[in-house]
Amino acid sequence: MNGPATTWYLALAAFLFGIGALGVLVRRNPLIVLLSLELMLNGGNLALIAFSRHFANGSGQIFGLAVMAVAAAEVCVGLGLVVAINRRNLALDVDRLSELRG
């Protein structure tokens, strides 16, 4: 098999996922949070594709495509929300958007 071992891909995927997760946790700007989410999704995607190649099974790639579609949809909704929040002159700060408090 050509190229680096699957482990490397997985390590990269975990790294991407970790950066993304950290970003989601620590950043307050919703745009950056969305960006970080994309990183997490792509980390997951990378792992899927890596496994797909490792096991020579196409299902993982199909999953990867599905995740991309989901990611695109999510960005649409998320950006829409960000625009809507902005238009209402609310602070772009996820900690202050706590209307759903129980």
Partner: protein
């Protein structure tokens, strides 16, 4: 003849429905005449049925079935009528006397703001009563039985703004519901053993205790409906209703239904001879107790009401010893003379603007001679003075007790004492109300109706009944001339033990008339001539005025405990345990929700943190498990 029975049953029903739906579109007069016509048409139907039975001597009866009323599995009960000698006699009495009384009501109720409702009710009552007597099986009988109770409730409480009337109506209904319940239990036993509720099922051989229980249940119903001890306390209170109602329901027809019931179901009572004798004993006891209480009552209707109880006691005595025809015959003559007494009392009450206290009525005969003579006819019939009707019907009852054993002599003595009391209380009433100069009260309050003592609709029925009370007994003079007994022979043959010898009959007749006359004489001495003082016995007086404390007793042992139990169930169990328990449960759930709610901060960061932490824990758990 079966058409006759259906016409008889349905015409009062149709009248009641017409009046109800007519509502205010009908004038009061029209409503009254619809009811009257309906009941007289029923009388026509009764005559048709009677002639039909008469034309076929020896036949025991004919059933007609309309449809299957109730069915379940192999058990079924038809809506069916029975035309036989017993039911035709009752139909004639109910529709005949009923028609006269409804006619009388036209005058009596004139001007009442809810006259239409009255006539709808009374037509409905006649329908129910006919259902009772024509019903071709025990369930149809029970249906009529319950419906007469309902219409009695409606009519006693007719003046519904009077709390006493409503109380009396409720009391009557509840006591009768108790009777209905015991009857229903008797029917359950019968269904259990025979899978049937036909009258024929009563002749099926049953074990002794089964027959006893069935008979006891039926007796409970009969005693409640006929106001016999211990279920009698509703009847005097029922006098709160309009007087024609008292005449029709609480004298002539409904209250005598118990007697009809025992005659109709005599097959089971003969299997349960003990219970039948208990019925006789109840009758004997009631006739004495009611006779005593009647001595001290001051309300004219209540005196007659106690007299009714007492006379029904005689009928129970008669059917209890096995003389069904005697009981039915007394039922018939009693319907005539007691309806008459109530209606003459009604004339007096009507003319005196609603006054019912006999102490205010002295000398009424001067201004109301027709009422006076009619009342006298009724009173003599009640006491049993020949040739009035009561003489022919009461004496055979007393005589029939002589051959049944030692208790027969006790019954005999009770019957004679009762006859004495009847003379005394009836003529106490007579001497207090009619003879002499009119009292100031009578002078002040008496008002006539266009120069007469009442409207013609009131006077005509009174006159007819006065004639019937006089001559109505002539159709039978035991033991010489007994067509009535013969007529009932196919359905309710008199037991051999209840047939006295002709010596016994003659001696009893003489004795009964003598003690009755003695009662009259004593009443005359006390109340007219004032020669004899009423012996001062305050204790006895109080006991009688309080009607032997039955009401208080029942209040103490039934109503009060039931109310107390219900109240304590409410305050001890329902409210603190069930309702509060539910509330606490709900509160706990809400509190738990409130506690958990705090986790929901609304800050995205916390959610993500928990998510990540949860995932981490899961991963760790997997690793460790491996």
């Amino acid at each position: 003849m079966t058409y006759g029975s259906w016409i008889c049953l349905l015409s009062p029903f149709v009248a009641a429905v017409l009046i109800m739906f007519g509502g205010t579109n009908l004038s009061r007069r029209v409503a009254a005449w619809i009811a009257t016509t309906g009941v007289f048409v029923a009388f026509g139907g009764a005559i048709w049925a009677f002639l039909g039975v008469h034309a076929q001597p020896g036949q025991v009866g004919e059933y007609t079935r309309a449809w299957t009323w109730l069915q379940s599995g192999s058990f079924s009960v038809n809506l069916e009528l029975l035309v036989d000698p017993l039911s035709t006699v009752m139909m004639l009495i109910v529709a005949g006397v009923g028609g006269l009384i409804v006619l009388y009501s036209i005058g009596y109720m004139d001007g009442d703001p809810e006259e239409r409702r009255y006539f709808a009710y009374i037509a409905f009552f006649v329908f129910s009563m006919l259902m009772l007597v024509e019903g071709g099986n025990l369930l149809m009988l029970l249906v009529g039985w319950g419906l007469v109770g309902l219409s009695s409730y409606l009519l006693i409480g007719f003046w519904h703004e009077k709390p006493s009337a409503i109380q009396a109506a409720k009391k009557a209904f509840v006591m009768n519901a108790f009777g209905d319940a015991t009857m229903a239990l008797a029917l359950f036993i019968l269904i259990f053993h025979t899978q049937s509720l036909s009258f024929g099922a009563l002749s099926a051989p049953l074990s002794g205790s089964t027959a006893n229980w069935i008979a006891l249940g039926l007796l409970g119903g009969a005693a409640a409906k006929s106001a016999q001890i211990p279920l009698h306390t509703w009847l005097p209170d029922a006098m709160e209703g309009p007087t024609p109602v008292s005449a029709l329901i609480h004298a002539a027809t409904m209250v005598t239904a118990g007697v009809y019931l025992i005659a109709r179901t005599h097959a089971i009572f003969e299997q349960a001879r003990t219970i039948e004798l208990i019925a006789a004993g109840i009758g004997a006891l009631t006739l004495l107790v009611a006779g005593f209480i009647a001595l001290v009552q001051t309300d004219i209707k209540r005196v007659i009401a106690y007299s009714t109880m007492s006379q029904i006691g005689y009928m129970f005595l008669a059917v209890g010893v096995g003389g069904y025809a005697n009981g039915m015959f007394h039922l018939m003559t009693h319907a005539f003379f007691k309806a008459l007494l109530f209606m003459t009392a009604g004339l007096a009450i009507h003319a005196l603007a609603g006054e019912q206290d006999i102490r205010n009525m002295r000398g009424l005969g001067k201004v109301m001679p027709f009422t006076k003579w009619c009342f006298l006819a009724g009173a003599l019939a009640l006491v049993g003075i020949p040739p009035f009707s009561g003489f022919f019907s009461k004496d055979p009852i007393i005589a029939s007790t002589l051959n049944i054993g030692w208790y027969g002599y006790v019954f005999y003595a009770c019957g004679l004492i009762g006859a004495f009391l009847t003379g005394l209380y009836t003529f106490r009433l007579w001497f207090l109300v009619f003879p002499g100069e009119p009292s100031p009260f009578v002078r002040e309050h008496y008002h006539d109706h266009h120069g007469r003592e009442g409207a013609w609709t009131m006077l005509v029925p009174v006159g007819v009944l006065a004639v019937l009370a006089t001559v109505g007994g002539w159709i039978q003079w035991a033991p010489h001339w007994e067509p009535f007994t013969k007529w009932l022979e196919p359905v309710a043959p008199t037991l051999a033990a209840a047939v006295p010898t002709s010596t016994q009959e003659t001696v009893t007749s003489i004795l009964t008339v003598l003690v009755g006359a003695a009662g009259i004489a004593l009443a005359w001495a006390i109340y007219a001539e004032k020669r004899v003082e009423i012996p001062a016995m305050p204790a006895a007086q109080r006991l009688l005025e309080n009607k032997f404390y039955f009401d208080e007793l029942y209040d103490r042992i039934f109503y009060a405990p039931a109310a107390a139990i219900a109240n304590s169930l409410r305050t001890e169990i329902e409210e603190p345990v069930i309702l509060q328990g539910g509330t606490d449960l709900g509160q706990t759930a809400l509190d738990a929700g409130g506690a958990v709610r705090r986790i929901q901060t609304g800050v995205l960061r916390t959610y993500v943190f928990f998510l990540a932490a949860g995932a981490a824990v899961l991963v760790l758990a997997f690793l460790i498990a491996k």
